[in-house]
């Protein structure tokens, strides 16, 4: 019986809302946009952090990445016209780490050079040369598509071979099969022995560029060309000349990167300290390297994500509150407009409770309708953002529930006062009301 009564009350609510269609629609819009923005904001936030985490995950959670960084200019002797600055990671560093630290599972030094490559007389393509060793595949999620990766023999004999990734294959060879072809880099020919694909998820570019940990496909480079480290060492000068402000300066960097892999994620942090201690000694406290721990980044990202979601969610929640105030305003107007009806209903046997239920159900119909429309719109907007803005978005089930729950709560909270006002009007006064 209670159910049927509630059903009739809701029917009545819908009916009187239908009588004021424009008003009801406008009121609902407040909730629609509120709910919609909660969902959209959370979806965008979730998508961004998921992309960031994926990018970090690809760096490997058991990896420790040591990067060369240019040390800050300590000496202000601008009088020097020519000086060679020697900094960064060295082969000695790599050797020392391998020889003195027992828990290192794999250690992979890498030299990185941005250059151009050419195949026959086709236009040049900007590439990134990565001089490394065969074990590179153990620290990076790269998949062999065809041919083979670099081998120990390549390394020993400083062979002029290379492995290209799909970006380079597309850029240089178009539709030709790259395997067995020769590409020209800096006056030398290298035979392509393998094709790899760098596995990447929905990486959100720019999100992590500040920490320079992304290496694939950034900076307008078509892709990577992997060449044996020994070959690179003998063919490419470690000196790098730059001219700035009339001064010629030269830098000498042996290695850009050393990646250390340990057996389990628990060892990563202690390994960082050990490696840092060793390098600090070797570099005599010069700040020309940095150690990146992807696992730590991952944890940071999780923290950031939580804060991000809270901030976005609160901003959106504010718009819901504004929508709620709009509803309360309209319901107060409705109540005073319908004072006489309230008086009549009270005279005909309606209890205070009945009046509260009546007006509350109207508010609930409005907010729940707004909630449903908001959920629909809120699911469409992230899709549009992904399509046009090329940003990943993820709509989670709990964000829908949250948005719907909040809209229902807004309905109850902001509908309560007008309904209470209606119920507590004096029936005699109400009946006299014009």
């Amino acid at each position: 019986m209670l159910f049927f009564r509630l059903k009739r009350t809701f029917k009545l609510g819908v009916k009187s809302l239908w009588l004021h269609r424009l008003r009801s629609t406008l009121t609902t819009l407040g909730i629609v946009f509120g709910v919609c923005s909660v969902i959209a904001m959370l979806a965008i936030g979730e998508g961004a952090s998921e992309a960031a985490q994926e990018a970090i995950r690809q760096l490997g959670s058991t990896n420790l990445i040591i990067e060369t960084v240019k040390p800050p200019e300590e000496q202000a002797d601008t009088g020097t016209v020519e000086s060679v600055k020697h900094y960064g990671l060295t082969y000695t560093d790599a050797e020392s780490i391998r020889n003195t630290i027992p828990d290192v599972e794999v250690i992979v030094p890498a030299r990185e050079i941005d250059h151009e490559a050419r195949y026959r007389n086709r236009p040049k393509s900007a590439i990134k040369i990565i001089g490394t060793i065969p074990w590179y595949t153990e620290i990076k999620p790269i998949r062999l598509v065809r041919g083979r990766f670099l081998s120990s023999t390549d390394l020993q004999h400083q062979l002029s071979v290379c492995v290209v990734d799909e970006g380079v294959a597309r850029g240089l060879f178009l539709f030709d099969d790259p395997i067995g072809k020769d590409i020209r880099i800096f006056g030398n020919y290298y035979r392509v022995v393998g094709l790899v694909s760098v596995m990447s998820g929905p990486v959100n570019e720019g999100f992590l560029q500040a920490s320079s940990v992304l290496e694939a496909g950034s900076g307008g480079v078509a892709g990577n060309v992997y060449i044996p480290l020994t070959t690179v060492k003998s063919r490419f000068s470690e000196l790098n000349f730059t001219i700035s402000g009339g001064n010629r300066s030269a830098e000498k960097v042996e290695l850009q990167k050393i990646t250390v892999k340990v057996a389990s994620a628990e060892q990563v942090l202690s390994m960082r300290d050990i490696v840092d201690a060793l390098l600090r000694r070797l570099h005599k406290d010069k700040k020309d390297y940095q150690i990146i721990v992807p696992l730590e980044l991952l944890r940071q990202a999780a923290r950031t994500r939580r804060i991000f979601s809270i901030v976005l969610g609160s901003i959106a929640a504010i718009s819901l509150v504004v929508g709620g105030i709009g509803i309360m305003n309209i319901m107060l107007a409705t109540v005073s407009e319908r004072t006489r009806e309230i008086g009549i209903r009270r005279a005909l046997g309606a209890k205070r409770r009945d009046i509260i239920v009546q007006f509350l159900s109207e508010t609930l119909v409005l907010t729940l309708l707004g909630g449903v429309l908001g959920i629909i719109l809120g699911s469409v907007i992230p899709a549009l953002v992904t399509y046009f803005g090329r940003m990943p978005t993820i709509i989670t089930g709990w964000s829908l529930l949250l948005a719907f729950g909040i809209s229902a709560m807004v309905g109850i909270v902001f509908g309560m006062y007008p309904a209470w006002r209606a119920a507590n009007m004096d029936p005699i006064e109400s009946l006299r009301h014009e």
């Binding site: 009806e341 005909l348 309606a350």
Partner: protein, 235 residues
């Protein structure tokens, strides 16, 4: 002093007082008011404005509570009931007919008649059937889906009467039921009230209209919150 028509007193007040405090003064709207109305009586209440008619009607209709004294409606003391219980008494025991009809504008004839039944928890099915029957009884069987704005004043008042009968109340309270009507429509309404008396309903009508007073079995004249005189017409 009271001519007993039949059976028990359906309305009985004892030393009823209603006091309003206005700027330190005590204003007695009703003073030691004793009224007994038996079941099936058609009573008219008359008196100049300010004599306490409205206050009496509000208290008899359980819309208001007396300051002191007791009011028994169909044997039940309702003077001390709380808001919820008073609402229930109104819904079950009392049928209201107002001067300005007081129909709900967005509801049609059937739905208006259904309102009191809804609050008594009657099923939609039953209440719709009963509402249609009552509408037929007051001669509106062909206008069930009309809105109040599509009806004449007389028709609206007939809907209101049908609504007052919905829960088969113990008493029907009418406040100037013909006050807003032309004489022809007014006569129709009075005809329906006569029919109700025939059926044994208890009617209490507040009016200035001598014609209503002429049809009532008892006329109660009020003055300054007291009964000035009661005249049994005896029909």
């Amino acid at each position: 002093m009271v001519g007993v028509t039949s059976g028990m007193a359906i309305v009985a007040t004892e030393n009823l007082n209603k006091v309003y405090r206005v700027g330190g003064y005590e204003l007695f709207a009703l003073r030691d008011f004793n009224l007994h109305i038996d079941e099936g009586l058609y009573a008219a209440i008359m008196g100049p404005s300010g004599s306490g008619k409205s206050t009496l009607l509000n208290i008899l209709g359980c819309l208001d509570r007396p300051s002191s004294g007791t009011y028994r409606l169909a044997g039940e003391d309702v003077s001390g009931l709380d808001d919820d219980l008073l609402s229930e008494v109104r819904g079950r025991r009392i049928g209201f007919i107002f001067q300005s009809y007081n129909l709900i504008a967005q509801l049609n004839v059937i739905e208006n008649i259904e309102v009191p039944m809804f609050y008594q928890g009657l099923s939609e099915h039953k209440s719709a059937a009963r509402a249609a029957e009552l509408a037929g009884l007051v001669g509106l069987g062909d206008r069930l889906r009309h809105r109040p704005s599509e009806l004449s004043g007389g028709q609206q008042q007939r809907v209101a009467i049908a609504r007052a009968l919905a829960n088969d109340p113990a008493i029907i309270l009418a406040d100037e039921p013909t006050g807003n009507l032309d004489s022809a429509s007014g006569a129709e309404i009075l005809g329906i009230l006569d029919d109700l008396r025939e059926q044994g309903k208890t009617l209490i009508v507040v009016t200035h209209d001598a014609e209503i007073a002429a049809r009532a079995q008892r006329v109660i004249h009020l003055l300054d919150g007291r009964i000035e005189k009661e005249v049994d017409v005896g029909a």
